[in-house]
């Protein structure tokens, strides 16, 4: 089932554009059937096997003992349910939101591709396949953020997200490889049982940092948070699905997944907790400065991701329970609010919180959804958001630094409260304000999603028992490796506790800020120039630096001058090989000087004369004739030393070459001297040095006679097995026939290339080039 679940969205993606063309409006509903079915399947599994861990594996690369295996336990089930459930609603929503868009089919492809990848991330048991799916989510996120590819801002945001999460992905790859080496397995299910082995490894710190880099970039932790608000260039369903409900939680998932292994590592609490707390505060604060609905929501998402990270860093049963519950709660309300934002934008073509008022009358259903989700986000009873917030305060209560941490949490939750009321309430009540377009209610496909998600927030708040034992407790058990008994106690009322007091403080402070928000924002905006020093700017610096360096090194390395390229290559070879040779050869023993016969000497001398003429002549015809002489001399050498086949071949080729040269001779430029004499001298020196290196190499090589067993084999079997006396020919057509086959194919391609070049008429479109 798991393999099918991961692969089926990819398969559906292939036919999605076709379905979209055939069915138009109904396509979204039909496509949503797949995640809906998967959702029911996962739910069924969760209800039947709560708190059990199952591994499903298929052989992948058997020779390396790598399997394609999937792990289904409480944690992955919770995420799988969110991915498929919200995925179904988002697919339906997209059909309405992007109705009539020419590239809607493509959008479905990206979205389904993402769904499959995200399921792969949360279900993978093999750390390498987890990494592959992880990168696939970054990739589909890139495509989805840049969906409005005709907008420059979209393309820049998409590239930014890809570079940041992609760089983190590389760190993650290194991290999981270290993890696998330390733990001696590529399977998460085995690694989870070998936490001590990993923690005892000398490279533990590097492993931790690398994995955290991957998780932090993906989950938009400070200072990598800037890509997430920028990613709001994407259409609303993408922001809902990827950038609040699922993908950005992949980092959180990874932290939760590895918590049993790395949670007890020495610096885990410092890094994860510290980074999370900082992100929580920064995100919440920045959210207050925004006026765009989507950007407000994006910054609160950053804040929530910080809170989740912080809780996982803190560790302990209550904190982990808080984190797991918060993952679910946040997906419900934030998904709903993003969709509400999309409805508002779709209806009135504006997302400015300061300008929108009184949309309630025109958009009653959207308002209900917004209100339910907003109140859950604000953390008010009887919504599940309240339970989740209480749980967070309870987790802090147990910690040493409880006062400081409580202050941070109250501040962040206060900001969240403000944003929740701004979007969930303020824009809908009061007298209607003028908008670019007349508001109207969204079609059913677009209010179904937000209403369903927001209602769940209320239902789970009223009856927490629905999720506590079947979803939350097994997930907590998977993270904390605690006994799977439902120890936590999700309820709205716990009596008068310090947590209730903190809630009250949060709400009071939030109300105060909400009422004075316009005034406060105007004051705070004076600090906006400080934002130019933020991490977004660091990213630009790094990017420009890389591009500048690339330009610089291209200019240096790619001078475009062939003599420079050749000289560089040759000088490097001379230095490397020649340097080694000087160490090796003490005395060059050129043996058998007097072994030479008179006619051989004549041939060699003729060749030397021809080479000398070739190098010095200014006549093309002389040069070509001299080259021919060199070739014929080589052919004679072949004759003398037992290679008649070579001699004949060389002779024929030389003849054909001369014919070729003569045919084109008068269409070729005359010889000119282009370089001045110092250059010529330097290049001559390089050439001579290279010749000397070759001589040295050959001399050294000839001293060591390694024998040639293959030649002996060929000589012995040429007649017996291949029925041929000419061993060279037998090698060519029989022993190494496939090589020859390749060679004649290359020749044929070469001839076609010559023909194409000759028949190609570039100058036809460019009159005047010929005459220049």
């Amino acid at each position: 089932m798991t393999l099918l679940a991961v692969l089926s969205p990819f398969a559906l993606a292939i036919v999605a554009p076709w379905l979209q063309r055939r069915l138009d409006r109904a396509a979204g509903w039909l496509l949503a059937a797949l995640p809906a079915v998967l959702f029911i399947g996962f739910l069924n599994f969760a209800l039947r096997h709560p708190a059990e861990s199952h591994v499903f594996s298929w052989p992948w690369i058997p020779s390396l003992q790598i399997q394609l295996s999937f792990l289904l336990d409480g944690l992955s089930l919770l995420f799988a349910l969110m991915i498929t459930g919200i995925g179904a609603l988002v697919l339906i929503y997209s059909g309405g939101y992007l109705a009539g868009h020419p590239h809607l089919g493509r959008f479905y492809v990206y979205l389904l591709m993402f769904m499959g990848s995200m399921l792969g991330v949360v279900l993978s048991n093999n750390v390498l396949s987890l990494f592959v799916f992880w990168e696939l989510t970054s990739f589909s996120s890139y495509l989805l953020i840049g969906f409005y590819h005709d907008r420059q801002a979209s393309r820049a945001a998409a590239l930014q997200a890809l570079l940041v999460t992609g760089a983190g992905g590389l760190a993650l790859l290194a991290g999981v490889i270290l993890l696998a080496f330390a733990g001696g397995s590529w399977e998460l299910s085995e690694l989870l049982a070998r936490g001590d082995l990993v923690r005892g490894h000398p490279l533990l710190h590097a492993t931790l940092v690398l994995i955290l880099l991957g998780a932090f970039t993906k989950s938009a932790q400070f200072p990598f948070h800037f890509w997430l608000p920028a990613a709001m260039e994407a259409p609303a369903p993408v922001s809902t699905y990827l950038h609040s409900a699922t993908m950005v939680k992949a980092g959180v998932y990874l932290l939760a997944r590895l918590h049993p292994i790395l949670g007890a590592a020495p610096r885990w609490q410092l890094y994860v907790g510290g980074c999370g707390a900082l992100t929580m505060l920064v995100g919440a604060g920045l959210a207050l400065l925004q006026v765009d609905i989507k950007r407000q929501l994006a910054y609160t998402t950053v804040s929530v991701l910080g809170a989740l990270t912080f809780l996982l860093g803190l560790g302990g049963e209550t904190a982990v329970t808080g984190a797991i519950l918060y993952v679910l709660v946040h997906s419900l309300y934030k998904g709903a609010l993003f969709l509400v934002g999309g409805n508002v934008d779709h209806a009135v073509d504006s997302r400015d919180v300061t300008r929108l008022r009184g949309l309630r009358r025109a958009m009653p259903i959207t308002f209900v959804a917004a209100l339910l989700a907003g109140l859950s986000m604000a953390g008010l009873p009887p919504f599940v958001g309240f339970i989740s917030k209480e749980l967070i305060y309870e987790a802090l209560h147990a910690h040493d630094l409880s006062l400081l941490l409580a202050a941070v949490a109250v501040a962040a939750n206060g900001c969240m409260f403000v944003v929740a009321l701004l979007i969930g309430v303020r824009i809908f009540v009061g007298p209607p304000a003028a908008t670019p377009r007349e508001p109207h209610e969204a079609p059913p496909s677009m209010w179904l999603g937000p209403l369903a998600l927001a209602s769940l927030g209320l239902i789970f708040g009223l009856v927490p028992g629905l999720i506590e034992g079947r979803l939350i407790a097994p997930a907590v058990a998977a993270v904390g490796q605690l006994p799977a008994t439902p120890a936590p106690h999700l309820a709205l009322w716990h009596g008068f506790t310090p947590m209730l007091l903190l809630s009250a403080v949060t709400i009071a402070a939030g109300l105060l800020v909400f009422l004075g928000w316009d005034f406060l924002r105007a004051r705070l905006n004076r600090l906006a120039p400080l934002g130019r020093l933020g991490p977004a700017r660091w990213y630009e610096w790094v990017l420009q630096g890389v591009l500048g360096f690339a330009h610089l090194q291209t200019r240096i390395l790619q001078s475009g001058s062939l003599p420079v390229y050749i000289a560089t290559l040759i000088v490097v070879i001379i230095l490397l090989v020649g340097g080694t040779l000087l160490e090796q050869v003490q005395i060059v023993r050129l043996a058998n000087w007097n072994d030479i016969r008179f006619h051989e000497l004549c041939i060699i001398l003729t060749m030397m004369m021809a080479i000398l003429t070739l190098v010095t002549t200014n006549s093309r015809l002389t040069a070509i004739a001299a080259l021919g002489v060199v070739g014929y001399c080589v052919s004679l050498i072949f004759v003398l030393f037992g290679a008649p086949d070579l001699a004949i071949t060389q002779f024929c080729i030389e003849t054909l070459s001369v014919v070729l040269f003569v045919l084109v001779l008068y269409k070729l430029p005359r010889f000119q001297v282009f370089s001045r004499w110092p250059t010529r001298l330097a290049e001559a020196a390089i050439a001579v040095a290279f010749g000397l290196v070759v001589i040295g190499l050959m001399t050294l090589g000839m001293e060591s006679d390694l024998g040639s067993p293959i030649s002996e084999f060929y000589a012995a079997n040429s007649y017996l097995q291949a029925h041929g006396r000419n061993i060279v020919n037998v090698i060519l057509v029989d022993f190494r026939g496939v090589d020859t086959m390749g060679e004649i194919t290359v020749l044929a391609i070469g001839a076609l290339g010559v023909l194409a070049l000759l028949k190609l008429r570039l100058d036809r479109d460019r009159p005047g080039k010929e005459s220049s």
Binding site: D645, L660, H723, V733, L747, V754
Partner: protein, 144 residues
């Protein structure tokens, strides 16, 4: 294409007359070299080159168009035919249930060839490709 001028590249009566008799001789010789290549110097490469030289000589003495007419096939078709022959010599082995390009041999000696086998067929393919390639290039350049 423009109608070929009747003039040859090198108007010479002696060359003209000589090549008329030389060319068939050279082509015959090239085939002889090809066939005996398995046991004596020669083979597809050398044979193909000799044949190519013969046609190039003819083209120089008369004209490229005349040389093209003297060929049974277009040089490009020669290349294609040669590749086909070479590949089919290998495929024959597969048909016979042996690995690709295993040599298959006739058991009875034939009149001129001795006992031929698939390597000879392969060599004929090489001959045709080499001939076709050389002529494609030279003719194309000469016709410019």
């Amino acid at each position: 294409m423009n109608p070929p001028p009747a003039r040859s590249m090198m108007p010479s009566l002696i060359l003209n007359t000589a090549t008329r008799y030389l060319m068939p001789l050279l082509v015959t010789f090239s085939i002889f070299v090809l066939l005996r290549g398995h046991n004596l110097p020669g083979g597809g490469f050398i044979g193909g080159l000799i044949a190519a030289a013969a046609f190039v000589l003819y083209a120089i003495a008369h004209h490229v168009a005349a040389a093209r007419r003297a060929l049974p096939l277009d040089p490009l078709q020669l290349i294609a035919l040669g590749l086909l022959t070479a590949v089919s010599s290998g495929i024959l082995s597969i048909v016979a249930g042996e690995p690709f390009m295993t040599g298959l041999w006739s058991h009875d000696p034939w009149p001129v060839l001795g006992a031929p086998g698939t390597p000879l067929l392969f060599d004929i393919g090489v001959y045709l490709v080499v001939l076709g390639v050389a002529l494609t290039i030279v003719f194309a350049l000469a016709e410019e």
